[in-house]
């Protein structure tokens, strides 16, 4: 019998599923998972650009696929992922940004976060209006 096998072994808790143990970790993992949505959307757009370059028939085929219920369902899920990304991106921005000083005083974290969310709302409204104007 080996010496190693007889030595008392300390209990080591498994790390499997560690992020399911705490709502804070769950939220963290959900936040990181939004990257999958961003990746899928980048691939969807890449396919669109490739089809556009292949000509009108290819483009119309892609457009028909975009109008299918599965595609709309996928994009609804992507929309949720993007919204959660936007929400959390600005929540952590006060921590990732170097200290922002205005008039010698540090800008509060909540101000930075709310500023980011406001910027998203304004930019979204502007782009939607632009799309509407350009499309009609």
């Amino acid at each position: 019998m080996s010496v190693v096998a007889n030595r008392p072994r300390p209990y080591v808790r498994s790390m499997r599923g560690w992020w399911r143990r705490d709502p804070f970790f769950m939220r963290y993992m959900l936040r990181e998972a939004t990257a999958v949505g961003v990746l899928i959307y980048a691939i969807v757009l890449t396919v669109g650009v490739v089809r556009l370059a292949q000509g009108e028939a290819a483009w119309n085929g892609w457009l028909a696929a975009l109008r299918s219920p599965w595609s709309v369902l996928l994009h609804l899920a992507l929309l949720l992922a993007m919204m959660f990304h936007a929400l959390t991106w600005f929540e952590i921005m006060p921590k990732t940004l170097p200290a922002l000083l205005i008039g010698g005083r540090r800008v509060a974290a909540a101000t930075i976060t709310r500023g980011g969310w406001t910027a998203t709302l304004v930019a979204s409204g502007a782009l939607f209006a632009l799309a509407w104007w350009w499309g009609s």
């Binding site: 993992m29 990181e32 990257a35 650009v49 009108e56 595609s71 998203t120 939607f128 799309a131």
Partner: protein
């Protein structure tokens, strides 16, 4: 000392993340829901001739390319760093797969957009 390539990936991650936070939701809404269904936006927005005009315009081309490429680099960087959290190996192969994927998306979209001409 060998220079680290980490800042380059970090900047691409940050730029893509910022762009996705500002415009990601509305872009998905426009291109994936409102325009294809013709709900809230004219369905003609995605007509071939319409999109061709956008993709042949220098600014339109640049915007399409930046959105696609930066989203890809952002997502791949984040996925690469999440592998460790999931208990997966994060060796050179994983790094190559992640950043190689982002590079592939970048090259494919750039080639397609450039082939459309100006």
């Amino acid at each position: 000392m060998k220079r680290s390539n980490a800042p380059v990936f970090w900047v691409l991650f940050g730029a893509g993340g910022m762009l996705a936070a500002l415009l990601g939701p509305v872009l998905v809404l426009i291109t994936g829901i409102a325009a294809p269904l013709g709900a809230g936006l004219p369905a003609s927005l995605l007509d071939y001739a319409h999109l061709l005009t956008l993709a042949r315009n220098g600014w339109g081309k640049a915007c399409l390319f930046l959105v696609i490429a930066l989203f890809a680099w952002h997502a791949m960087h984040r996925i690469f760093h999440s592998l460790h959290d999931l208990g997966l190996r994060t060796g050179a192969l994983a790094k190559l797969a992640c950043y190689g994927g982002a590079l592939a998306i970048t090259v494919v979209s750039a080639v397609s957009l450039l082939s459309l001409g100006f």
